[in-house]
């Protein structure tokens, strides 16, 4: 059963599981935290190592876990050469970053959080490179955007960090959105969301009419992620992140995700003119632009950021060429760029850490003060410049060779020339990094006294530098890895040999030109820098902020117009929209013939109808007097309940009656603190328009109801009627639908109800703390009032009613499954019974007799309902499948017990808790208004007087 392939999902899930640990382990100390972060990475790396030999031999490992096959979505993973290369890089550098961050982060930074984010990000990246399903890939893609947002904004106290994180999220998120569209098109064209199928269907995709939109959308995703022009601007702003994040995200992983995607999709999308012109051109422009800007950046990390932009452009351009040789060069450069750029970022971090500045103009002469750091930085920067005997030279040479042989729009030299120009600037800024930071005389005005850091901080970059030199001197070492990955990209057998010396050829001449030019440029840097500072140039952040502000303003305008705070506007928008849709449907469709005859009007029914209509009209007439409107609403509720009884819906009638009472109580409670009259705010014209809308909607609804009731149509009711007894064990179909057929809905609804109850309570709490609470405390409620707060009659009557009402509640609850009733109505009846006590004897007296918190009731309700649902798992059936049986408990007659009853108990508790909590929350308002409470159950208790008299007599 167990095969090597089944390791794949484990590798993908390990970082996510591991992410749970650092937050806890930080209590055991920083080193322990870092060690525990390293464990999942090391484990995944070891597992990957066991699969590596197979992949090198050309095996492609696959593992699939079926998830939502109907949507074509399955958790399927595969590992080929490209995936192995990227997974190795992600995990390997992840390990180095873990070590580096341990020493880099200061004691005040929450390290557990950092490592959690880091592992989340690592897991998301691994998911991208291992996914064999493009929908799954999209999910991981979005996860990288989200987790990188957390990482970039890690220093929450820095406004630049927050802004940078937001910008990165906006740009990459928007790109991700575009990519979702592109991927869905691709999946539709091929008929499968499996990456393997899509890669095999390259010809079909390129021939499709949908090729162009799919390509553009997917490239938008890749370009935004990989910071290609014109989306490059987010990357430098993301440098506000701590250096370990920059080193990880912006050298090795996140920004390479776009490059990875282009490489992955290479067999499916590459090879057309469109691909070449878009990808290669964008890459070329990005490469040159990034290199030029990098030279004039004084912040070390900004320099490196733009250099990364430039190198990503280089990779994109190579992939855009669409030839196997270019793909080889791209893969090789991915490896090389990773080694030197991660080392450089870490070096910049060390400089910042020790000298307390990253401003190149304030640095210089560090070679004497921090020799180890200087050596590491120099080696890595020389590689970045493309100096022979370092690995950067080799791949740059390959790139120049390819660029020299590309014809762009019938122009054979332009690409080569621009590539050389890019390299020239690249040499210049790399050398600037060396000479302006480490070279020159030692200064005496550093913000802190620089010295070499502890081993833990320089170990990681030094380790990477070993690779820089090793590959540079002996390129054949990297050859098998490059071949493996390049073959996976192109899908062809490739044979090539890396050499340091190719003889004197065009590429070498271009290289020499670039190095010489770069040195000259650096010599002229001081003058050029002045020119650069004086020259006007577009500031990406300003443009971006303006764009965002514009969009936000525009959306605010629309929202403000639709939702300007008055309920009449909301309702008008909503009702008119519904009307328009309904009328459109009516005009577009066809109505069948009337199939049912009208039934005769029974006695009294017209009377009820008349009462309803008159009461409704009266509400409209009297609505400014809020109390009068409330009384009239009571009539409407009563008539509707009567209507339910008359139309054979006793369940609804019971519910309506109880809901009506609770609603009236709620509204009265609130009305006490509100103005009793509604002022006239709208003009006559507005009211006329609103009336027209209301009448049109009313007529439409009436027409719809009439049309429905005079026609036969099929509905799901027949199924419910047929299966209620046999499937759900109850004869009350309404209740069986609630607790069985649609039990899952009900479960969701009681949770919502519970949340609503808690939210009202919480809102009241915060309301009372704010200005509304102060207004309340200062308000004067001393009107002319009855002196009898708690009348004797009422107290006695409600006490007598309590057990009766509860009995009725229990009765309605128990028989709910077969006869009208159920947990919902029972809950309402119970709450009314309790509310009566509150009204009769007051808040304080009743609250003192309350043993259970209403919050807890809601919780118990949801838990009981949930556990009942889970219980059916143990019987091997889906969530919330009810089972039932008939039992005999003498002397009671045969009795049915169904799990649905337990579920109904949950509903009951939840309803009771939520209703009571809402009323409780509202009635607390009065206490804040300075109202007093009394401890006695009633204002005047005659039995006290009698008792006193008796005591007197005894004496």
């Amino acid at each position: 059963m167990f095969s090597d392939s089944s390791l794949l999902p484990i590798i993908a899930i390990l970082p996510f599981l591991g992410a749970l640990v650092p937050g806890v382990m930080i209590r055991a100390g920083r080193t322990a935290c870092a060690s525990f972060t390293a464990i999942p990475t090391v484990l995944a790396l070891v597992m990957l190592g066991t699969l590596a030999p197979g992949v090198m031999d050309g095996t492609v490992y696959r593992a699939e876990i079926v998830w939502l096959p109907q949507l074509g979505l399955s958790a399927s993973f595969f590992l080929d050469g490209l995936g192995l290369l990227f997974a190795g890089m992600i995990l390997g550098v992840g390990l180095l970053i873990t070590l580096y961050a341990r020493y880099y982060l200061s004691g005040e930074d929450p390290m557990g959080q950092f490592y959690t984010y880091l592992l989340l990000f690592q897991g998301a990246m691994l998911g991208i490179v291992l996914s064999d399903n493009i929908l799954l890939l999209l999910i991981f893609w979005e996860l990288t955007s989200l987790s990188s947002f957390l990482l970039i904004g890690y220093w929450k106290h820095l406004p630049e960090g927050r802004q940078g994180a937001r910008m990165a999220l906006t740009v990459t998120g928007a790109g991700g959105l575009a990519m979702i569209g592109g991927m869905l098109i691709l999946g539709n064209v091929v008929g499968s969301y499996n990456l393997t199928d899509i890669l095999a269907a390259g010809d079909q995709i390129r021939a499709s009419d949908w090729y162009a939109p799919a390509l553009i959308l997917i490239l938008l995703g890749a370009f935004t992620k990989s910071a290609q022009f014109p989306f490059h601007f987010w990357l430098p702003h993301a440098m506000a992140a701590p250096t370990p994040v920059s080193a990880y995200l912006h050298s090795a992983t996140m920004v390479k995700a776009g490059v990875f995607l282009m490489a992955r999709m290479w067999p499916a999308l590459a090879g057309t003119d469109m691909w070449f012109y878009i990808v290669a051109t964008v890459g070329l422009v990005t490469m040159v632009l990034g290199a030029v800007i990098a030279l004039f950046k004084d912040d070390l990390k900004a320099l490196l950021a733009f250099s990364t932009v430039s190198h990503l452009g280089l990779l994109t351009m190579l992939l855009g060429f669409g030839t196997p040789e270019a793909a080889i060069a791209a893969v090789f450069h991915i490896i090389n760029h990773l080694t030197f750029k991660a080392a450089l970022f870490m070096t910049a971090g060390i400089v910042d850490h020790e000298a307390h500045t990253r401003d190149i103009k304030r640095l210089g002469g560090l070679a004497r003060l921090m020799p180890i750091t200087a050596t590491i930085g120099t080696v890595a920067a020389l590689s970045m410049a493309g100096i022979p005997l370092f690995n950067g030279f080799l791949s740059k040479e390959l790139m120049l060779h390819e660029a020299a042989h590309v014809t762009w729009y019938q122009n054979p030299w332009i690409v080569g020339a621009l590539a050389t120009l890019g390299s020239l600037f690249s040499v210049a800024y790399s050398l600037r990094f060396i000479f302006h930071v480490f070279g020159g005389p030692v200064r005496d005005d550093y913000p802190a006294k620089p010295h070499d850091p502890p081993f833990g901080l320089w170990a990681a970059p030094a380790f990477l530098c070993v690779f820089v030199v090793l590959i540079g001197v002996a390129p054949f070492l990297a050859q098998p890895v490059v071949r493996m990955a390049a073959e996976a990209v192109t899908g062809e057998e490739l044979s090539f040999y890396f050499k340091i010396w190719h003889g004197v050829n065009t590429a070498l001449l271009m290289s020499i030109a670039a190095i010489v030019g770069g040195v000259i440029l650096l010599g002229l840097h001081r003058y050029l820098d002045r020119l650069w500072i004086a020259a006007p140039r577009p500031e990406a952040k300003t443009i971006f902020d303006g764009l965002i502000a514009g969009v936000v303003g525009w959306m605010r305008g629309i929202t403000g117009w639709l939702h300007h705070g008055a309920i009449s506007r909301y309702l008008a928008v909503f009702v008119v929209a519904t009307l328009v849709v309904g009328v459109a449907a009516f005009l577009g469709g066809e109505m069948g013939q009337q199939t049912r005859a009208l039934t005769p009007i029974p006695p009294v029914a017209p009377l009820g109808w008349l009462l309803l209509v008159v009461a409704t009209v009266l509400v409209v007439v009297h609505h400014r007097s809020r109390f009068r409107a409330l009384v009239l609403i009571g009539v409407i509720g009563l008539m509707i309940s009567l209507g339910f009884v008359f139309l054979s819906a006793p369940d609804l009638a019971l519910t309506q009656i109880s809901v009506e009472t609770v609603t009236i109580l709620l509204l009265l409670l609130a009305l006490h603190f509100l103005p009793k009259e509604t002022p006239v705010e709208s003009s006559g014209g507005r009211r006329f328009g609103d009336a027209a809308i209301a009448i049109a909607a009313g007529v439409a609804v009436a027409g719809l109801a009439y049309a429905f009731m005079t026609r036969d149509f099929n509905s799901i009711s027949d199924f419910h009627l047929a299966n209620s007894k046999s499937g759900g064990g109850g004869t009350n179909v309404v209740n069986v639908i609630l607790v069985d057929f649609r039990g899952y809905d009900t479960y969701g609804e009681i949770i919502v109800l519970g949340i609503a109850g808690l939210a009202i309570f919480a809102l009241m709490e915060s309301l009372l703390a704010g200005p509304a609470g102060r207004r309340l405390r200062n308000a004067d409620y001393t009107l002319d009032r009855s002196k009898d707060r708690h009348p004797l009659m009422m107290v006695v009557a409600t006490r007598v009613m309590l057990p009766i009402a509860m009995m009725v509640g229990i009765f309605i609850f128990l028989r709910g499954h077969n006869q009208p009733g159920g947990g919902f109505v029972a809950g309402l009846v119970f709450s009314i019974a309790l509310l009566m006590q509150y009204m009769a004897s007051g808040f304080a007296w009743t609250t003192r007799r309350q043993r259970l918190e209403y919050h807890a009731l809601i919780g118990f309700g949801v838990v009981i309902a949930g556990l009942t649902g889970v219980g059916s798992w143990f019987a091997g059936r889906p969530f919330l499948t009810s089972s039932f049986g008939y039992f005999e408990f003498p002397p009671i007659e045969e009795f049915e017990l169904a799990t649905a009853m337990l579920f109904d108990l949950g509903v009951f508790l939840c309803v009771l808790g939520a209703v009571m909590l809402m009323l409780f929350g509202l009635s607390r308002l009065a206490r804040h208004a300075g109202e007093t409470v009394n401890k006695e159950p009633m204002e005047y208790d005659p039995s006290n007087a009698v008792a006193a008299a008796t005591t007197r007599e005894r004496r």
Binding site: S641, L654, V808, M836, Y838, M839, S923, V933
Partner: protein, 89 residues
Amino acid sequence: MITYAIFFAFGCYGLGLLMNLWRLARGPGRADRILALDTMVINVIALIVLYGIWQGTAVYFEASMLVAMVGFVSTVAYCRFILRGDIIE
């Protein structure tokens, strides 16, 4: 015979409801309106019971019982609102 009795009763209670409606619409006092509503509740209870007898089923009796049990609660609440302002003190 019982049918005629039921129809006669329907007529009486219906008339009662109409009168309640008149009082409810005219007022003039708040107490008049509350009382009209309360009487309406009583009349509705009677109508539901009558309807049950007419149809020969006991299902509706419970509805009438529930109306009877909770119907007065809103009346009490309205009254407390007028008398004391706050219904739960």
